[in-house]
């Protein structure tokens, strides 16, 4: 075969040689296409697989870890929670609405493949600054697409995050996380077990859309990005909703041996992976695939990424049962093949064999690379910060206003009010809190989920940035009263063939592994998205952590907003930095007020973090806390303001706080410095003693800051006499914060 042919499909010389050697012959055109997609970075994890193996994946609650369509965690009471996150970055850069919509569709099918009912979505988004029209367009389209698809499915979108940084202007990120619930003993696996069992394709017809989508996802975007556009599909949430209901009935029917979704690389990957996982083979006939267009070649059929399709492996003899359920839901179904024992993935077009390759070779034996890693030179320049470079602020109140107005810190209500976050009537802590909480009807149990990841921190110090992402995610989940138990993650990076990018990647993996191990939150799945790079500009290294926490009793959840006049306000964790400037590096304050992206973000003390989280959980469990809110971007002052802003269930209320911090020179660092392991809580004054004892027991610093009440946020500092730093009406602060994003869109 001519080299142009396989090169044009993105295969490397070494890879082509491996194919020829393994097959003992030259591949056919269809086979080559199949290898090119399954051996793409997107499907094969060629550059990341080795390092991903170093992540901790075991835990007492883990039922299924990485390797299946989604991870599964034991919730107790015979129930299990299924969770997975995935990126759809490249598609939103060219068609934000449909790109995001089909991203939701894809991750939901991963959850369905495990047999579970999808019950919640979260979206972690990164865009360029809203001052630019193109970024506004991508932002609006992406949010609209998630809303358009998720709302129609009747799956609440209960949380997520949005950041705006120049580094994402050309490469916006869209990561979507889905959570499902299932009875433990009904969990399905994506396995094609049992010779003679039926291979059935259900859902939408197959068209020419999305061919080579995963190759697209495995390339840098370039000048010719427009040309890649035919890879974009139009989502059909209505069909997906029917698929969800049909799949759940199929699971209940007992006719199903295994299920798998059809995402990237369509029929090729779903069949090859299902066969490989079971150590079996599959034989299909492309002529049996219901097509949307005429004249499609086997190559096109095998590679089509048409949406809203699932592959069902049904017990032999129960094919009619599968068909009846699909018919009931108005879905197409077609048996396209059978499971075989010979381990081969054989594709016929009626009488002719058009492809015949070992399923394992395709699905599991892509070459693995050990790329070179080199510490990037930019770190020499921006990796250090001399506090002297940052001129101290005059007007603290003005700084607070600037911070509350920056879109990174501003209320994301503009986003989540477009999402149906209440459907299914299980969302008991709505978006706007540190983590969303869902109950499970018929059980006292519930769970909390959130996503966290700070690309700027990881840019400045990838290892520590990853640790703080895990720590923050776990802390957020603890703040609502859930015990963190498992992580799913989405790793968004530039081109891994560049040593600097790979260095960032390896540092992030190291940090994540350390934090997950320490905090007892094993990684049960995830997704890697490389090549988020356009014309040499890569995104910040952006690991997004999806954290799952378990709640034993949903009547004892906690929320961030202050509740009652007279309650005391306490800080758990350190109040001042260990040395001057330690909390300024990489902070939102530096960026928004001083326009600097510099320094090392504060180091995470994982031991303290762990103790703090244990204390939080115990305090919430004992009913000692009225509210809890972690201090993250924007520091103490921003977190205090947020606690005053109320929620759908509680009115806003003021607070007055005095910081007694002798010896600390920088007020800006006290107010706006960012450090992990810090939480603001409020409590009834009569519980102070018990909280103090609890803090001592867990060896967590505790400081009494002040009281809830009034209609102002008052922050003063005690230096001999007491000086007011901030005295602002809560209502005014809140309106700045609430309207900031919409204001930028006008």
């Amino acid at each position: 075969m001519k080299a142009e042919n396989w090169q044009q499909l993105g295969l490397k010389p070494f890879e082509y040689e491996k194919i020829v050697k393994s097959l003992g012959r030259e591949p056919t055109w269809t086979e080559l296409g199949m290898f090119s997609v399954l051996w793409s970075e997107h499907c094969a994890y060629k550059h990341s697989r080795k390092l991903l193996k170093t992540l901790p994946t075991q835990g007492e609650r883990v039922l299924i870890g990485p390797g299946e369509n989604a991870g599964v965690v034991d919730l107790g009471d015979g129930l299990a929670v299924v969770m997975k996150i995935e990126s759809h970055n490249h598609p939103i850069a060219v068609e934000p609405y449909q790109g995001a919509a089909t991203g939701v569709g894809g991750i939901v099918r991963d959850i369905m493949a495990m047999g579970a009912r999808p019950v919640a979505l979260l979206d972690s988004l990164r865009f360029g600054p809203l001052e630019e029209a193109r970024n506004r367009f991508i932002f609006g389209g992406t949010v609209g697409g998630i809303a358009g698809y998720g709302n129609c499915l009747g799956i609440p979108t209960v949380g997520g995050e949005v950041y705006f940084e120049e580094a994402y202007s050309l490469n916006p990120l869209c990561n979507v996380l889905c959570v499902g619930v299932i009875e433990k003993d009904k969990v399905k696996r994506g396995r094609a077990a049992g010779e003679g069992n039926a291979v059935i394709l259900i859902g939408n017809t197959t068209g020419r859309d999305g061919i080579h989508g995963c190759t697209f996802a495995s390339e840098e975007l370039g000048e010719d990005t427009e040309e890649k556009r035919p890879n974009i599909q139009v989502g059909d949430p209505f069909t997906e909703k029917l698929l969800i209901e049909a799949c759940l009935e199929l699971v209940d029917s007992g006719a199903v041996v295994g299920m798998t979704d059809m995402g990237a690389a369509g029929i090729t990957s779903s069949c090859a992976e299902a066969a490989a996982r079971a150590g079996m083979g599959i034989e299909i006939d492309v002529a049996k695939v219901p097509l949307r267009e005429e004249g499609m070649t086997p190559y096109e059929i095998m590679l089509s990424e048409s949406q809203e399709r699932m592959l069902i492996i049904a017990e032999k003899g129960k094919e009619d049962q599968v068909k009846a359920i699909c018919d009931k839901w108005g879905l197409r179904s077609a048996q396209i093949g059978v499971v075989t024992a010979d381990g081969m993935f054989r594709v016929r077009e009626r009488g002719t064999i058009v492809a015949e390759v070992p399923a394992k070779l395709l699905a599991e034996e892509a070459p693995i690379y050990t790329p070179e890693a080199r510490k990037p030179a930019y770190l020499d320049e921006v990796g250090h910060l001399d506090p002297g470079e940052v001129s101290p602020i005059g007007d603290a109140a003005e700084c607070l206003r600037i911070l509350l107005r920056t879109p990174d810190l501003a209320s994301k209500e503009y986003v989540y009010r477009q999402y149906d976050h209440m459907v299914r009537t299980d969302t008991i802590v709505l978006p706007g809190a540190d983590a969303a909480v869902l109950r499970v009807k018929g059980s006292r149990k519930g769970f909390a989920v959130c996503t966290d990841g700070n690309g700027r921190h990881c840019y400045l110090d990838p290892r520590s940035g990853a640790i703080s992402a895990v720590a923050e995610a776990a802390r957020n989940v603890c703040c609502v009263g859930a015990k963190p138990v498992a992580v799913t993650n989405c790793l968004n990076f530039g081109n891994p063939e560049k040593p600097e990018v790979f260095w960032q990647f390896s540092q992030v993996i190291e940090g994540m592994a350390e934090a997950c191990l320490k905090l007892g939150t094993p990684v049960i799945g995830g997704n890697v998205s490389f090549y988020n790079e356009t014309s040499g500009h890569a995104v910040y290294p952006t690991p997004v952590i999806g954290m799952l926490g378990i709640i034993q009793d949903t009547s004892a959840v906690c929320t961030p907003e202050f509740k009652l006049e007279g309650d005391i306000i306490l800080l758990l964790g350190p109040i001042a930095p260990p040395q001057e400037g330690a909390w300024l590096g990489g902070s939102e304050y530096l960026r928004a007020v001083h326009r600097m992206v510099k320094g090392k973000p504060a180091r995470v003390d994982l031991e303290l973090e762990k103790r703090l989280q244990a204390m939080l959980l115990e305090a919430i469990g004992k009913g000692l806390l009225k509210s809890a809110h972690d201090i993250s971007d924007g520091g103490l002052a921003v977190a205090l303001a947020e606690c005053c802003f109320g929620s759908p269930a509680h009115e806003m209320i003021g607070a007055s706080v005095v910081l007694a911090t002798p010896g600390v020179r920088r007020r800006d660092e006290l107010l706006f410095g960012e450090a992990p392991a810090r939480v603001i809580v409020s409590a009834d004054p009569s519980d102070f003693g018990r909280l103090k004892a609890l803090a001592e027991k867990h060896d967590v610093p505790l400081t009494l800051l002040g009281k809830v009440g009034g209609d102002h946020l008052d922050i003063a500092i005690a230096e001999g006499e007491t000086k007011t730093l901030i005295h602002e009406r809560v209502e005014e602060l809140r309106s700045l914060w609430q309207g900031a994003i919409e204001c930028l869109l006008k």
Partner: protein, 239 residues
């Protein structure tokens, strides 16, 4: 007292309604598949929220041709209580069981949050437990809740007190005259955009939705004096 909750392809608040009726309100509730043509034996029918047929073309436009809708029409003509919530409201409009039409929200975006609505008519089977002018806090979740009726129709709605709920404070979708719920002339078919089934439990942040279902229970109990069991449970209308 039997409530029927219709499932159209794409309904997604069907199980929420069922849960609110059965597990929270303690009523007898059953699902009705969109292909059923016989809905005898029910005391009230709920058309739930969601995206029937993906809301393709226009919200509710395709669902109104479902086989079950003929039966629902007949049930309504016979005086049976029909409540359309959100997508259910849209379906009732498309089916001509209620006057007017639904358009895209004027903000062109989906909106999900709590709203306040004012009870404009507390004499209907769906609001009998409310006091006139009472403010209810109920969530909305829709992209097409911009109710429209021609001026002539609007006048008629007002004259006959067919506007049952109005948005109070701000109007989330641009609906004419702040309309959030309308009832038919005969007073047995109501459509409302807010979702009462989403606020029947304190843990969900509100319980005002119960007023709607309790009103229906009372009304049915009162209008079915022949059934002593039902009457005993619901008490008289005055209480």
């Amino acid at each position: 007292m039997r409530f029927g909750v219709v499932i159209f392809p794409g309904s997604n608040c069907d199980s929420d309604c069922y849960h609110a009726l059965k597990d929270v309100m303690g009523l007898e509730a059953e699902y009705i598949w969109h292909k059923s043509t016989d809905i005898r034996g029910f005391d009230a029918i709920i058309l739930p929220g969601g995206f029937s047929y993906g809301d393709y073309l226009r919200a509710g436009a395709i669902a109104r041709f479902s086989p079950v809708m003929k039966a629902v029409e007949k049930f309504a003509r016979g005086g049976g209580l029909v409540l359309g919530i959100c997508n259910g409201f849209q379906i009732l409009l498309e089916a001509g069981l209620l006057p007017g039409a639904m358009m895209r929200n004027d903000c062109l975006q989906f909106r999900c949050h709590y709203v306040e609505v004012k009870v404009e008519n507390a004499e209907t089977p769906f609001t009998g437990e409310c006091s006139p002018g009472q403010i209810l806090r109920i969530p909305i979740a829709h992209g097409e809740g911009n109710y429209f009726a021609e001026p002539r129709v609007l006048e008629e709605l007002k004259r006959n007190q067919q506007i049952v709920l109005r948005y109070h404070g701000s109007n989330p979708n641009g609906s004419v005259d702040n309309i959030a719920a309308v009832i038919n002339r005969e007073g047995n078919v109501m459509g409302m955009m807010p979702h009462p089934e989403r606020c029947c439990e304190g843990v969900l942040g509100g319980t005002d939705g119960k007023f709607i279902f309790q009103s229906m229970m009372k009304y049915i109990g009162w209008s079915l004096p022949l059934n002593p069991a039902t009457q005993g449970r619901c008490g008289s209308r005055e209480s």
